[in-house]
Amino acid sequence: MSDRDLVVLGVGMHPWGKWGRDFTEYGMVAARAALKDAGIEWKDVEYVAGADTIRNGYPGFIAGSTFAQKLGWNGASISSSYAACASGAHSLQSARASILAGFCDVAMVIGADTTPKGFFAPVGGERKTDPDWLRFHLLGATNPVYFAMFARRRMDLYGATAEDFAQVKVKNSRHGVHNPYARFRKENAIEDVLNSPIVSDPLRLLDICATSDGAAAMIVTSRAYAEKKLGSLNGIPRIRAVSTVTPTYPQTILELPDFATDSTAVVAAPARGFKDSLCWAAFEEAGMSPSDMNMAEVYDLSTALELDWYEHLGLCAPGEAEGLLRSGATTIGGRVPVNPSGGLSCFGEAIPAQAIAQVCELTWQLRGQAQGRQVEGAKAGITANQGLFGNGSAVIVSV
């Protein structure tokens, strides 16, 4: 293994749901589960990397210290990361940088959220210079509006159908039914999706991910620490790459919360768009290729966006995602199962916890512990995630 690999010693989650309690309670459950899984004690943790949330008042913004205090001050160093939906991956990157720089050997990465009901809405008050406020005020451009425009392009350009989108939900519901941490654990038939009301045409209620409460935590360590503790690292999941790259100008895809793309009048569009480059930066860092991946956990904010990710990840060429789905390749038992956890489809989004939860799932899969949803013989997997304001991530984990 490379000296730049990080060992995933322990993972833990609090089940996703709509519990309505303080987010720190969920975080505590996930943190203690991760410590137990790692076989270490809280006092052994030297660094706490918290993924921030914005809807929980003051402590939510400073997640590192919030969780460090909740677990009982132990003198650890801390960081707090806000990167919208990629907050969890940015906190992992912060822990990774600290470990690889030699500042510490053992870090906890943690994120938790309590979400409101309904559409995500901007922060209150009249803020006429904030694009996130203005997109709601002037256009009523909710998050599903943007998801729907990506879906509609698949239909008009590639001939995707509502049935294709519904089949993504059917697949993920079959995966997630076996996941004890998933919120929605019911198998959906294609009719369930097609009979659910249209929210933002062409997307229906069951095409769009819900918002959830939940928490995820990981214990990551240096190679030296893990070797000392475990002896051999054979079969132990390792973080091979963490990509958190921003777009390259000009960003030519209309992404939330923007009113407009960048201009191609002076600088031509880059060869790789933002989501492609997020994935490719991870492949390049790990020295691996899409064909090395045995599974992927992707950000299916909508069913149609899962199909986009197949292409961004290089699992197939642009326009071929529907074919890949129909072939069964992305179902458990297929060539490269996507969202074996059930994905956001079965979890709903708990923003600061979600990118960490993706890595937790890869870890369980690589250890052969994903009961009922196991990707047999999996040796490597990738996560992909995207949030507002040019944030996103991809993480490669392998044994």
Partner: protein, 163 residues
Amino acid sequence: MSIPATGQVVRVPAVEGWFTLDHEPHLIGCRCATCGTFVFPPRSGACPNPNCDGENMVSTPLSRVGTVWSYTENRYAPPAPYRAAEPFEPYALAAVQLEKEGIIVLGQVPKGIMAADLKVGMPMQLETDVLYREVVDGVDTEFMVYVWAPAGPTAAESIRDRS
């Protein structure tokens, strides 16, 4: 909200300086005086082109016509600060690509034109429409927003046919 009986209605933009309210309205963007790239919404300060150190973004009218990049239709009332009419009427949105400027701009589509009337690649033209109406200091005021309407004779006919 009570509307005064004077019949006097004042039209103002719902956001300052993003579009004109004349007979042939257009968006107001900015162009970098150094490298020539465009931005929308308009803004001052640094050019977004990483290869340019320009600091002078000059106000410029954007093309009134473009083609549909994608579109959707809201079937549920968006949350505040959107001011949804009651009862809520579904409406469409379109992201329109402007060839000369090389940008895609998201906007509402005029009331009554739905997603089924749109298609990727379809020509669109900038118009304005009432976003909401409110009495401000005793004056009946229509707050206006830019909208993308299907352009060209075919589109105009199909809209007339439906109304």
